[in-house]
């Protein structure tokens, strides 16, 4: 099923638009494609950072409870 597309209007500094347009030319892509990709990467990075924060906190808590994290990683290493 084709994805629903919404047209949105955003404000972007002119200098940034010029820089992005140069990338569009270099990569033979249109603005929409490039902006979509940039947004997807940003959202993925946010998801990853949230997982990292949660995981670090869990590692600290587990370490405090006597779990040897280094040994755990060693166990998973072949």
């Amino acid at each position: 099923m084709p994805q629903e597309i919404k047209i949105v209007s955003v404000s972007i500094p002119a200098g940034l638009v010029r820089e992005l347009d140069r990338v569009c030319d270099l990569e033979h892509r249109n603005r929409s494609e490039l902006y979509r990709e940039a947004l997807r990467q940003y959202l993925k990075l946010r998801r990853w950072q949230a997982l990292r924060e949660y995981s670090s906190a869990k590692a600290a808590a587990a370490g405090g409870n006597g779990v040897d994290i280094e040994k755990l990683i060693e166990e998973l290493s072949l």
Binding site: Q41, K44, W48, R52, K58, E74, L78
Partner: protein, 131 residues
């Protein structure tokens, strides 16, 4: 490197754990996959093992486990190890090696503690430490 310029890297389960818990070089590899510079390869059995360890040893909530699973599934090419016998790959090989073969990996990424490092290569695929 592949014709498309994207390296295909089979990633060890322990490396995911290291990236999540400590960041460092292992995390850099994950971030490279976010920008499409590398394509990570794994298998269902490896992902299940990661989830099991996070649940049973590190007390991750079910919601967090779901987030991890979805992130990995979005970011990684999951190969089916069931194809191994048909491809002439011995079933007793570790999942990461089977995944590397089936997924046509250019490299196998492990932690610096991995015994695989002593092999240096597996069927011509370099084995490298990313931690």
């Amino acid at each position: 490197m592949s014709e498309s310029g994207t390296e295909r890297i089979a990633i060890e389960t322990a490396l995911w754990l290291e990236a999540l818990l400590f960041g460092g070089t292992a995390e850099e590899l994950v971030k490279m996959s976010l920008t499409g510079r590398v394509q990570l390869i794994s298998s269902r059995v490896q992902l299940d093992k990661l989830i099991q360890v996070l649940r049973e040893r590190l007390d991750f909530s079910e919601a967090a486990l779901d987030q991890v699973r979805r992130f990995v599934e979005d970011q990684v090419e999951i190969v089916e190890l069931g194809e191994a016998p048909a491809a002439g790959i011995p079933e007793n090989l570790p999942p990461i090696l089977r995944a590397a073969r089936i997924g046509s990996a250019h490299a196998i990424a492990t932690t610096d503690r991995s015994n695989l490092l002593s092999l240096e290569t597996f069927e011509g695929i370099p084995i490298v430490s990313m931690a």
